[in-house]
């Protein structure tokens, strides 16, 4: 592989990883703090993409769709949390897997009924529809924008979690919800906020990715499995872990496709299995296994 091709693949891998991080970050928060295994996370990604298509097709602007879509996803997240997820906080893993699996089936039907089964395209905003030269290759500006957005969100998340009182409550709630409640902090409201944040993040990822992936039934599935892989590799509950895990997965997948095409699909899972065998809690996972 020539140097320029290698560099381009590096960029491809990082870009893919950043988008995965956006999806996985919501999952790791929900999983790490709320302790809920949410298989419906991919459905939120899909819902975001469909919303992006629906609004931008009618308004002509993807950015407007995102501006409208993100709050919509927050509301959806709140609704789902109150109605379904809240009942899972004290339940076992099997119940969580199955309830959220049922939600996936439900969301798929909803998508089919509300939006139909056709494939849809989403256009990038005029201002960002140019391409950038990278040696022999060209890179669409929208991908660069998406990557930048992911990095900004990552930095913002880190700031919030480490630097604000809310972030402190999040971290406290993760290690000891009973104590936090005893201290007078409304854990229920904290959890609801976190879940809807996670939902919004997944939805936002879907909206950003929609012009790239097109919008079609079942688009959340592959993303879901990959985000679980990322979360587990990085360590459940660790945003930093999710970040590095996502980059690792993005790069492994990209280079796997080019260097070991026959093995490419299994590559990511092999990496996850290998990481877990080396570090059973993930790269940056919590030492104590509470759940």
């Amino acid at each position: 592989m020539s140097l320029s091709l290698f560099l381009v693949q590096l960029v491809n891998g990082v870009e893919y990883g950043l988008l995965l991080f956006l999806v996985a970050s919501g999952l790791t928060l929900v999983f790490g703090v709320l302790g809920v295994l949410n298989f419906a996370h991919g459905s939120f990604y899909m819902l975001g993409a469909y919303l992006a298509w629906w609004v931008s097709a009618r308004s002509g602007s993807l950015l407007l769709a995102i501006a409208v879509g993100v709050p919509a996803m927050v509301l959806i997240g709140l609704l789902v949390e109150r109605l379904a997820i809240a009942r899972l906080y004290s339940r076992d893993h099997l119940s969580q897997v199955l309830l959220t699996y049922g939600l996936v089936l439900l969301f798929n039907e909803l998508q089919s009924v509300l939006f139909g089964n056709d494939v849809h395209g989403v256009n990038t905003p005029e201002a960002l529809s140019f391409t950038v030269r990278l040696g022999e290759q060209t890179w669409p500006a929208w991908r660069a924008f998406t990557s930048l957005a992911c990095i900004c969100i990552a930095v913002t998340m880190r700031q919030i979690v480490l630097g604000t009182r809310f972030g402190m409550r999040v971290r406290a709630g993760a290690s000891n919800p009973e104590m936090v409640e005893a201290l007078g902090i409304d854990v229920r409201r904290l959890f609801a906020t976190l879940f809807s944040a996670g939902t919004a993040l997944a939805g936002l990822a879907g909206m950003l990715a929609a012009p790239l992936t097109t919008v079609y039934p079942g688009m959340g599935e592959s993303v879901l499995i990959l985000s679980f892989v990322v979360v587990v590799i990085g360590g459940i509950g660790s945003i930093k872990g999710a970040f590095f895990g996502a980059l690792l997965v993005g790069l492994a997948d990209t280079f796997g496709k080019v260097l070991l095409p026959g093995f490419a699909s299994a590559m990511v899972y092999a990496v996850m299995a290998a990481v877990l065998l080396w570090r059973p809690r993930g790269l940056l996972g919590a030492a104590a296994e509470g759940r």
């Binding site: 693949q9 060209t138 669409p140 097109t214 496709k257």
Partner: protein, 391 residues
């Protein structure tokens, strides 16, 4: 409580053990089974095929061979794991007279296994796997759609004529993609073309960036691909976004653009594909069909709908000849074999292996529509490798 529920189910089970003949009276309805996807990624195809079949039946007054048509549909979800059970549901449970479908070739393979054993009259309305009219061919199995070979072989000539002798292949690595590439290579090698690289993408992955970067560095004369549906939509967009469209012409079988032109937009402009149908085909049958389909469903017809439409029309011809007697198996098969249609796709008849003999057209995307540039291969007949019928 659970006991009585079980008893209820048991009782329900027993009622369907009673022979159907007890309830039939006069000319029994013609039960046509539809093994198609009505949910998931391929649902649009399932609905188009079904609606076109119903349209054709309506045009025949709802009767084929004098018998009223009764549709029995099962959602196969394009899931090969559930296929044997679904086929069983239609053949043994619902006892359909004729089985039609499916879309997915994995489901088709499961279906062929059972259908050949039970000798049920079957018309394959989409799946293009070579084996169906090849190694697995059977007198009671017909196909009205296409074989993978037919949609890709003619494209090789198109590249060769344009002087593009070095090509890169990129495809989804399952039977549809593999057979398409094999057919293309067959034609391409004959004319002296060389394949620079074959890029197999795991099915149904749609992450193409890494491979597109590879193509850019290989700098071939042209790229021939196989993708369909959402994957094709994304691929064409990615191809253009990677800046490859201007420098390296992109070709494929028609599935690259079928149904997704709207999504692909400007990225698809100028792409040449070969297929046995095009929306803009200029013949009377096509114009009539498209208008009728639009009126009946509010949607535009496509290559998938055409197969459904032709299926019922060809069955109508054959059943009329045997006066609706599906029991007269040999006569019915002979009638099907001799059927001739003025299909929306052009002249249609069956080969000895029961695959369509049809014209394959060269199309190019112009102004967001498929323009027909001409016939890429006239009377294309699938080589039917491994089929022993009629030889």
């Amino acid at each position: 409580m659970t006991l009585s529920r079980r008893a209820l189910l048991g009782a329900a089970a027993c009622t369907s053990l009673l022979p159907r003949r007890l309830f039939a009276a006069g000319a029994a309805k013609l039960r046509i089974g539809l093994l198609l996807p009505y949910s998931g990624t391929y649902a649009a195809l399932g609905h188009n095929i079904t609606d076109a079949m119903k349209l054709a039946a309506t045009e025949h007054g709802g009767k084929l061979g004098g018998r009223e048509v009764e549709w029995v549909a099962v959602d196969d979800e394009s899931d090969p794991a559930k296929a044997p059970a679904n086929v069983n549901k239609l053949i043994a449970g619902e006892k359909v007279d004729i089985l039609t479908g499916p879309v997915h070739s994995g489901v088709a393979m499961a279906m062929m296994q059972i259908v050949r054993q039970e000798e049920v009259l079957t018309v394959v309305t989409n799946a293009g796997a070579q084996a169906v009219t090849g190694t697995l061919c059977a007198p009671h199995v017909f196909r009205t759609s296409f074989s993978n070979w037919q949609t890709s072989y003619p494209c090789a000539d198109v590249l060769l004529k344009a002087g593009q002798k070095k090509a890169v292949l990129m495809f989804w690595n399952y039977s549809f993609g593999q057979e398409s590439m094999a057919a293309f290579k067959e034609g391409y090698a004959k004319g002296g073309g060389t394949i620079v690289k074959e890029i197999a993408v795991p099915f149904p992955s749609t992450e193409f960036q890494a491979n597109l970067s590879e193509i850019a560095s290989l700098k071939p004369d042209a790229v021939f691909v196989f993708f369909a549906g959402a994957g094709a939509a994304k691929f064409v967009k990615d191809y253009a976004a990677a800046g490859l469209k201007e420098n390296i012409p992109l070709y494929g079988s028609g599935f690259l653009t079928e149904g997704v032109l709207g999504v692909q937009g400007a990225a698809a402009e100028g792409i040449k594909t070969t297929l046995h149908y095009a929306d803009g085909l200029d013949n009377a049958a096509n114009k009539k069909f498209r208008a009728a389909f639009k009126k009946a469903t509010g949607r535009d017809a496509d290559v998938y709908a055409v197969a459904g439409y032709d299926t019922v029309n060809v069955l109508a011809q054959a059943l009329d000849k045997v006066k609706g007697d599906t029991g007269a198996r040999k006569e019915l098969i002979a009638a099907l074999e001799s059927a001739r249609l003025d299909s929306p796709r052009g002249p249609f008849r069956f080969s000895k292996a029961h695959n369509p003999i049809q014209d394959v057209y060269l199309r190019q995307v112009k102004g967001g529509q498929e323009a027909v540039l001409g016939v890429a291969l006239k009377d294309a007949e699938d080589p039917a490798a491994g089929c022993k019928m009629g030889k």
